[in-house]
C-alpha cells in the first residue's frame, strides 16, 4: 500500500513538474525575447577593444546581473535517466540558456543610460545537486560625454 502511495506521489510530482515547468519555461522565454529586442540599442561586447577612441567618455562603471534558476521535477528525472546512458542532456541546455540570457538582461537593465558594455564575462556555478545553477554576468558600462 505504502509503495502505491509513493508511486502516485511520484507520478503527481512528475506530472506537475512537466505541465507547470513547461509553462514557466515558455513564459520565461517569451519575456526574455521581448526584453532582448527592447534593449538592442545597448550593445554588449565580449572584448575591450571595441571602444571608439574619438568619443570622450564621461564615466565608466562595473555592472552585473545574476539569477539562480532551478529545473523542474520532470526534467530532473529525464536528466537523471540521461545520465545513465550519456549523451546530450537537452533538459538542462534550456535551463542554463535561460539563466544566461536573463543574467545579461538584468545587467543591461542596471546600466540604464549607458552607451556600450565592454568585456562581458559570464560565470556559472552549481548551487545544489538537483539542477540549480547560478549565472552571473558582468561587464564595464561606458557613458559617453553628450
Amino acid at each position: 500500500m505504502r509503495e502505491l502511495f509513493d508511486l502516485i506521489y511520484f507520478c503527481i510530482l512528475v506530472f506537475v513538474g512537466y505541465t507547470v515547468g513547461t509553462m514557466v519555461e515558455k513564459e520565461n522565454y517569451r519575456s526574455i525575447r521581448e526584453r532582448e529586442s527592447a534593449s538592442l540599442d545597448l550593445p554588449v561586447v565580449a572584448g575591450e577593444d571595441f571602444q571608439d577612441e574619438s568619443i570622450a567618455v564621461e564615466r565608466s562603471e562595473m555592472v552585473y546581473g545574476n539569477i539562480v534558476i532551478g529545473t523542474d521535477y520532470f526534467r530532473l528525472i529525464v536528466a537523471g535517466l540521461r545520465n545513465l546512458l550519456g549523451g546530450e542532456v537537452s533538459a538542462y541546455e534550456t535551463l542554463v540558456d535561460r539563466g544566461r540570457r536573463e543574467a545579461v538582461l538584468r545587467m543591461k537593465e542596471r546600466a540604464a543610460g549607458a552607451d556600450i558594455i565592454l568585456n562581458l564575462r559570464i560565470e556559472t556555478c552549481q548551487i545544489t545537486q538537483t539542477g540549480t545553477v547560478e549565472v552571473l554576468a558582468y561587464g564595464t558600462a561606458l557613458y559617453y560625454k553628450k
Binding site: 519555461e25 565608466s60 539562480v68 532551478g70 523542474d72 530532473l76 548551487i127 564595464t140
Partner: protein, 102 residues
Amino acid sequence: MTNIETIPGKKIIEHYGLVAGNTVRAKNVFKDMGASLKNIVGGELRSYTELLQESRAQAVSRMTQQAEQLGANAIVNVRFATSNITQGASELYVYGTAVKVE
C-alpha cells in the same frame, strides 16, 4: 571600478597591486525548504538570487575598503569567482588591481 584594463577617459598614475574581498555564506534552512518546493515546477529561486547578490556586494565592499586603505581611487580588471565550499555554503570572491587615476 571596471573589469577592463583601464579607466576610459582617465590616466592611471599609480599601481597598488592586487586587492581582493571574499565572503562565505551558508543558506537558510527555511529558504531551502521554499527552494525545494520551487524545484518541483522550476524557475527562478528569488531568495537565492538576492542572497548571492547581497553576499557579492559585501565581498565588493571589502575589496574597495582594502583599496581605499592603500590610497587608491579606482580598481581595474575586476574578476568574480564563485565556488562551493560544502554542500550548503558557497564562497564569493572578487579581486582586481587597485590604481590611482588623475
